[in-house]
């Protein structure tokens, strides 16, 4: 049994041999456990790292790129922005409330670890279809978990997106993005230095949370019988602990007490101690008896691998210890010296300082020596093209339109989205807009930050490369719609099992598409997260890269135009008319997900994005909506549902024109006096325009296609989510 311990821990025979070569001896079970978590897919990115290196990551304003806890960019005025997105898919599938709550907690720590105050959260959520009871239960639990943790921790959830599709049945996606601001000169990095400096563990005590596969070590002789008392438990979040931890850490940073700091996330203490040591080129001694334990009788490997929440590891000079203890006492945060920075490069785990050595590993070997795999890739069989004629025949335009409408306000009304008085445009629009304030004085800069998260698995299932390009392009256009220009991108790549060559091909293609788009638009990728093995019952999810973009608004003096339509406004469509049903929401409604995806012309898209940004910042238009899933029909209906008036439009001859999807298209609503200005600006930019009709009355009229009362649209929009999720559900 002991011979195959590495296999039980998820290490391959080759990986075990490599560990033996690094140590020049046989690793003991504790060491093996530490390697197994650090070399897991989750921590090492061993299947994706090779491909991720193709993404562009630099720009003059990038202060910290991928590889640290969060990306950091310079946004001017002495202010830096830290941003990161991370998945918590698998924990949310098992315990939706706590899975989502701890996802929020984890991403917050990544941000304040950098010295930034977290000021905004966004969530990109994917669940199974609304007619599946378990998927609804998961969705309800995840939303409650985000609400319960995010609100109580005191960081507003200012936006995000939600989608339902049977591909996520049994494997929901919970991707959480966090953004923070910091004075540029307060940037803190997760590295240890200074021989004799101390490693102080801040926050919660350590329990058997999330020790997962390593729990086999807890059972004597590694038999199948696992002691019930020693079963790993689900991670439970404590937003109150995290709130105090945030305030304590920010005060510690302000007092200049730390040399480096690192949050405890995946692989717990093993990761935090080895990462800080290896980044700083030093060694570290860790006294596990000094780690406060929540349960009696915890073993060394449990302490080193536990994923208990709300913990940070601060590296400080010994003469600052009393001041640090003082700040921690004020915020009622536990602080214990658990480690010492040592000369050399060894991470040593001891039963007490200067006591027995339980493990001794070159710190950097846990990261730098992790395996990198070039897994086999295979392009799947070609999809069959869907005939739009076929869709036309069997579909009823009105009922299709009503089925495609869904108002996410049921979700975001459960999130505090206004705290800190920054939220100029909140959830439910193309992009969120926040005031950019000085992080220390709180003074307004009269500039704004815009954030958007975007993803579309339907596009990526048809063509992962083009689909991912389209997603980045959509993010860019969403930022333009609120008058912002893009500064940085973070991504969360949610894919299936990488050992399946077709999944590996999807991942590689998607990364290439993202790289192409980011290079085309000049956007650096400053951070990312890869979530693989998203599968249930052996079926992989559709490829779902999610991107988060942050942009800047140079002058934020008025609220950007939203979806609201003003009476008498003219509706004009900007952009090419090239559309198809491939990967469209409409074809998915009819159970089809294939066909052609129209590629985006990056140059045209950039010109349109510039035009849109100028229209918004010059205050020429009253309403705007980027065309995305559901095409023109859904965009029109969403604007009507958010307004007091109906519309009458023409030049939409058929269902395909209404629901087809294509890149680089934006719908604007504009005062008749400004129409000529709009048309001439579009003409000089060589952007095609279509005058669709006008705003007024109380009906939704698409000439020769649809004529229904506005209330019909409103009702369908407002009731879909509450009807599916809100009634008859019982909160935990």
């Amino acid at each position: 049994m002991v011979d195959s311990l590495h296999r039980v821990l998820g290490l391959s025979d080759e990986e075990a041999t490599k560990i033996g070569d690094i140590l020049k001896r046989t690793p003991n079970p504790l060491e093996l456990a530490m390697y197994s978590v650090m070399w897991s897919e989750h921590c090492s990115y061993k299947s994706s790292r090779l491909h991720l290196s193709r993404l562009p990551t630099s720009a003059p304003w990038v202060l910290v790129g991928p590889g640290e806890n969060a990306g950091v960019i310079d946004v001017g005025d002495g202010i830096a922005v830290a941003i990161r997105i991370e998945s918590h898919n698998h924990p949310s599938a098992i315990e939706p409330y706590q899975g989502a709550a701890t996802g929020v907690g984890g991403i917050l720590r990544d941000i304040f670890t950098m010295g930034a105050r977290p000021i905004a959260l966004m969530d990109s959520l994917r669940f199974g279809s609304l007619d599946d009871a378990r998927s609804c239960w998961i969705a309800e639990g995840v939303v409650s978990g985000i609400s319960g943790y995010g609100n109580a921790v005191g960081v507003p959830t200012v936006g995000g997106e939600i989608d339902f599709d049977s591909t996520y049945q049994g494997n929901p996606l919970v991707n959480v993005l966090c953004l923070g601001t910091l004075p540029k000169d307060r940037l803190v990095l997760g590295r240890a230095s200074g021989i004799g400096n101390l490693a102080v563990l801040l926050g919660s005590s350590t329990g058997r949370d999330g020790i997962g596969g390593v729990s086999v070590l807890a059972s004597a002789g590694f038999s199948n019988q696992v002691d019930v008392e020693k079963r790993p438990s689900v991670q439970v979040g404590d937003p109150f602990e995290e709130k105090r931890l945030i305030e304590a850490c920010l005060e510690i940073f302000d007092s200049n007490l730390v040399v480096g700091i690192q949050d405890l996330g995946g692989a717990g203490l093993t990761c935090a101690t080895s990462e800080t040591a290896s980044r700083g080129g030093v060694g570290m001694d860790v006294d596990i008896s000094a780690v406060p334990q929540r349960e009696p009788g915890m073993e060394a490997h449990e302490i080193m691998i536990s994923e208990s929440q709300e913990r940070m590891l601060a590296i400080i000079e010994p003469n600052n210890l009393d001041l640090l203890f003082e700040i921690c006492a004020k915020w009622e945060v536990n602080a214990n010296v658990i480690g010492r920075v040592t000369a050399g490069d060894k991470l040593r785990i001891l039963d007490r300082f200067d006591g027995n050595v339980l493990a001794e590993i070159p710190a950097s070997s846990l990261h730098d020596d992790a395996p990198i795999y070039d897994r086999p890739k295979k392009k799947p069989e070609e999809n069959k093209t869907v005939s739009s004629e076929k869709l036309k025949v069997k579909s009823d335009v009105v009922s299709d339109l009503l089925s495609l409408l869904s108002d996410p306000s049921w979700v975001y009304s459960q999130y505090d989205h206004q705290l800190f008085l920054n939220t100029v445009v909140g959830p439910g629009y193309d992009a969120t807009v926040l005031k950019l304030r000085d992080p220390v004085s709180g003074l307004e800069t009269n500039k704004g930050l815009a954030i958007t998260t975007d993803g579309n698995h339907r596009w990526c299932a048809v063509n992962p490369r083009v689909g991912t390009k389209l997603i980045v392009a959509e993010g860019v256009m969403n930022l333009s719609c609120v008058g912002a220009h893009p500064l940085a991108l973070v991504n969360c790549l949610n894919f299936g099992n990488p050992e399946n060559p077709e999944v590996m091909w999807e991942l590689s293609e998607s990364i290439d598409g993202m790289a192409e788009a980011c290079e085309g638009f000049g956007i650096p990728v400053v951070g990312g997260n890869v979530s693989l093995y998203n599968e249930s019952s052996g079926v992989n999810i559709s490829p779902t890269p999610i991107v988060g973009l942050v942009g800047k608004i140079e002058e934020l003096h008025r609220k950007p135009p939203g979806f609201e339509l003003l009476e008498g406004n003219r509706l004009v469509l900007l952009g090419p008319s090239h559309i198809d049903v491939g990967g469209s929401l409409w074809s998915a409604l009819h159970g089809l997900n294939s066909g052609e995806l129209i590629d985006v012309d990056l140059e045209t898209h950039k010109v349109l994005a510039d035009l849109v940004r100028s229209l918004v910042s010059d205050g020429i238009i009253d309403g705007i909506h980027d065309l995305s899933a559901g095409g023109l029909g859904v965009a029109l209906a969403e604007m009507v549902a958010k307004s007091k008036f109906g519309i009458t439009v023409a030049r939409i001859p058929d269902a395909l024109s209404l629901f087809g999807e294509g890149p680089s298209r934006v719908l604007v609503s504009i005062n008749s006096e400004n129409v000529n200005e709009l048309l001439s600006r579009a003409e000089s930019a060589n952007i095609p325009t279509t005058r669709l009709g006008l705003v007024g009355g109380d009906r939704f009229i698409v000439k020769d296609l649809i004529d229904v009362p506005k209330e019909t649209i409103d009702l369908a929009f407002l009731t879909q989510l509450p009807n599916a999720l809100g009634v008859g559900t019982v909160s935990a």
Partner: protein
């Protein structure tokens, strides 16, 4: 003279800086009052802001009421000092017995963050003296436990003595008699669930909260 408004901070409070921002926008001075202090000298009015004092564990406000600061605030209120509890602050004031009733979970059993219309029901409080009775204000709410409840005798007494300060135009949480805010007998302690500090800037959607802060700042 500029009014100095003390803003209470318990571990878990999160609207303290927003409240100070609103006070300072309207010409007052904001001052943080840490929960362990008993010193309110130089303070002309007190705000207990929103958030999750002590994590809202046990019940919202149940632990905060025992802090040294709360005894000082109770004394301050007894001497006629203006005290405003917003959201979690309202919950703390009811737990401390400075205001009647209690705040239960919303009847929809969901946290609610949205902008609602409320109606000013009396001008005779430290918070509404510059407002007009019947005036409708657009204010954000942001709570899970905002469902005001009390027994019938208390309700009748609140009504008879003109102590209902704000009512919801469209009740979002099941509060008895649509009550969004009440005051104490001496009308210097007011608690309300909506967040007026979030409604002092048109760029954020509403300026209707200003009249309430103007009343508070001018009330001493």
């Amino acid at each position: 003279m500029t009014a100095t408004v003390g803003v209470a901070v318990f571990p878990g409070t999160n609207c303290e800086l927003d409240s100070i921002h609103a006070v300072e926008t309207l010409g007052g001075d904001g001052k943080i009052l840490w929960h362990s202090t008993k010193n309110l000298s130089g303070v002309d009015a007190v705000i207990i802001p929103g958030g999750f004092a002590h994590g809202d564990y046990l019940r919202p406000g149940a632990i905060a009421r025992f802090s040294p600061l709360m005894s000082a605030i109770a004394k301050f209120a007894k001497n006629g000092g203006p005290v405003l509890g917003i959201c979690n602050g309202f919950q703390v004031l009811t737990e401390a017995g400075l205001l009647p009733g209690a705040l239960q979970k919303n009847n929809g059993l969901k946290f609610l963050c949205k902008t609602v219309q409320v109606r000013v029901e009396t001008e005779n409080t430290t918070l509404t003296r510059k407002a007009e009775k019947g005036m409708e204000l657009s204010l954000p709410i942001n709570h899970f436990e905002g469902n005001f409840t009390c027994d019938l005798d208390t309700l009748n007494s609140l009504i008879d003595h003109d102590r209902v300060v704000l009512r919801y135009c469209d009740n979002p949480n099941g509060s008895i008699d649509d009550i969004a805010g009440v005051c104490n007998e001496t009308r210097n302690v007011v608690g309300l669930m909506p967040h007026p500090e979030r409604a002092c800037d048109l760029l954020l959607g509403s300026e209707d909260g200003k009249v309430l802060f103007e009343s508070l700042l001018g009330s001493n």
